[in-house]
């Protein structure tokens, strides 16, 4: 059992998928408030982080430690906001403030170079898009934003893997798997609302991309190719599917598949730029 838990593949796929299914399911069964189910994604991510990397010290000495505590704050903030019924612009502003502060905190050691500052500015722009691109808590289906998170997490994970940044890759793929757990709960019927907790989970992938871009030699610029995944909501609205149970299920599946395509483009670009050879440890 212990050996199984130490297997990087299990840590990045099966384990977070199960954790995601259980965490989202637990919240679903308890039915505390709308929008809180997506907090299961963040909770599963944090649990896997603690298992794989360990719980970092406080104050954290490195970017990965800061990432964990910033993500913890985001998950707690999202859950609290959803619990209090915060949504729409207030929810977006909350996520934007948390994400911007976290990015600046993580990026600080890299801000002694123009490249570091430029990278931070790009990350802040993406953070603004994530925070304000969709109003949290609206009664739209949760599949589209979850598919966007799945796609971005796959892009960061695949790019990090090619760039020999194993722990970032594992964490990003774990986030993708935990999101998969959430998507399973929302297919064929979309049961949950994407609240502030969901937006915070989207923010966590921006933080992971930040660590990758700022502190590794990975060709993280290719991640820009994955950003069209954030348009999944618009795609969903314009998808010509009948408003029936079957139509909605087919639409959700189609949106998920199409949303992942930009992520594949990003990973493909990383492969072309960096080669497929991985670190042999």
């Amino acid at each position: 059992m212990s050996e199984l838990l130490h297997d990087p593949f299990v840590q990045s796929s099966v384990l977070p998928l199960l954790a995601g299914v259980l965490a989202v399911g637990g919240i679903h069964v308890l039915k505390p408030v709308r929008g809180l189910a997506a907090a299961g994604i963040g909770a599963a991510f944090l649990a896997v982080f603690a298992l794989v990397v360990g719980v970092p010290a406080l104050p954290p000495p490195s970017s990965m430690g800061k990432l964990f505590w910033a993500a913890s704050a985001g998950v707690a903030l999202g859950a609290a906001a959803d619990g209090l019924g915060v949504k729409d612009r207030a929810g977006s502003a909350l996520v934007a403030a948390w994400l911007a502060a976290s990015l600046v905190w993580i990026a600080m050691p890299a801000l002694d170079s123009a490249a570091g500052v430029l990278t931070l500015l790009v990350l802040l722009a993406v953070a603004a898009w994530v925070a304000f691109g969709r109003m949290p808590g609206r009664a739209e289906g949760a599949t589209a934003p979850a598919a966007a998170l799945l796609a971005l997490a796959l892009a960061v994970g695949g790019t990090a893997l090619i760039g020999s940044s194993a722990s970032v890759a594992q964490m990003a793929l774990a986030l993708a798997a935990a999101t998969g757990g959430f998507l399973l709960w929302n297919w064929p019927v979309e049961r949950h609302v994407w609240g502030v907790s969901g937006q915070a989970a989207l923010g966590v992938i921006v933080l992971l991309a930040g660590v990758l871009a700022l502190f590794t030699q990975t060709q993280a610029i290719v991640l820009l190719l994955a950003l069209p995944a954030l348009l999944a909501g618009r795609l969903r609205r314009h998808l010509p599917v009948p408003d029936t149970g079957f139509g909605r299920a087919a639409g959700a599946a189609a949106v998920t598949v199409v949303t992942v395509l930009p992520a594949l483009a990003a990973v493909g670009a990383a492969y072309l730029l960096g080669g497929a050879e991985a670190s042999p440890y």
């Binding site: 490195s62 970017s63 050691p109 940044s165 194993a166």
Partner: protein, 194 residues
């Protein structure tokens, strides 16, 4: 012979250390990067040991042959110079998983004490800073030789040092214990009179 032992201990510190205030009798030396090697050995999944080195090492030594307690060493290693003869693995070693070279570009050692343990051997105590974490370490040092080098015509001293650290003590937890926690250090160094 006593002099050479003192020199051994002193220059062993140079492998990893930082220079403290030296006595009036101490002589300043600088590590010769062309003849200095900081090598590490780590267990790889139980199958074999992986070997790596740092290619950019600098340091200063205050050497007093008559008073070993006055000897002091400062050493600074460029983290990004890690070299295991495999580009992708080196890239990974520079990432936050291991040496985190962008956030922690230097590994430093500052000697605190030198103890005599044999005719040409000693124990070098010091503080090693890795990933921003400082921990005490002890290296076994052997003085090899001092005098004018027939190659460079400069006053030169040479020593060897060996030691073991636990990387998790410094917060480098990724992959442990599959990728060994204990790291063997092999240091071979020559220093020339500044």
């Amino acid at each position: 012979m006593k002099k050479t032992l003192f020199a051994a201990a002193l220059f062993a510190t140079a492998a990893v250390g930082a220079m403290a205030p030296a006595s009036a009798a101490s002589v300043a030396y600088k590590l010769d990067p062309a003849h200095t090697a900081v090598v590490f050995i780590v267990n790889h999944l139980g199958f074999a040991n992986a070997v790596g080195r740092f290619n950019a090492v600098s340091g200063e030594v205050a050497f007093d042959k008559e008073a070993i307690q006055n000897n002091a060493v400062t050493v600074s290693i460029d983290t990004a110079s890690v070299d295991t003869n495999h580009a992708k693995r080196d890239e990974h070693l520079k990432s936050p998983d291991f040496f985190n070279a962008k956030e922690f570009p230097k590994i430093t050692f500052k000697s605190t004490k030198v103890e005599k343990s044999g005719e040409k051997t000693g124990k070098l105590h010091g503080e090693l800073t890795l990933l921003g974490v400082t921990r005490p370490v002890v290296l076994d040092v052997t003085f090899n030789k001092d005098g004018v080098s027939p190659a460079s015509k400069q006053e030169t001293v040479g020593f060897s040092a060996r030691g073991t650290i636990k990387r998790t003590d410094f917060g480098m937890k990724y992959g442990a214990p599959n990728i060994g926690d204990e790291i063997q250090l092999l240091i071979e160094a020559e220093a020339v009179k500044a």
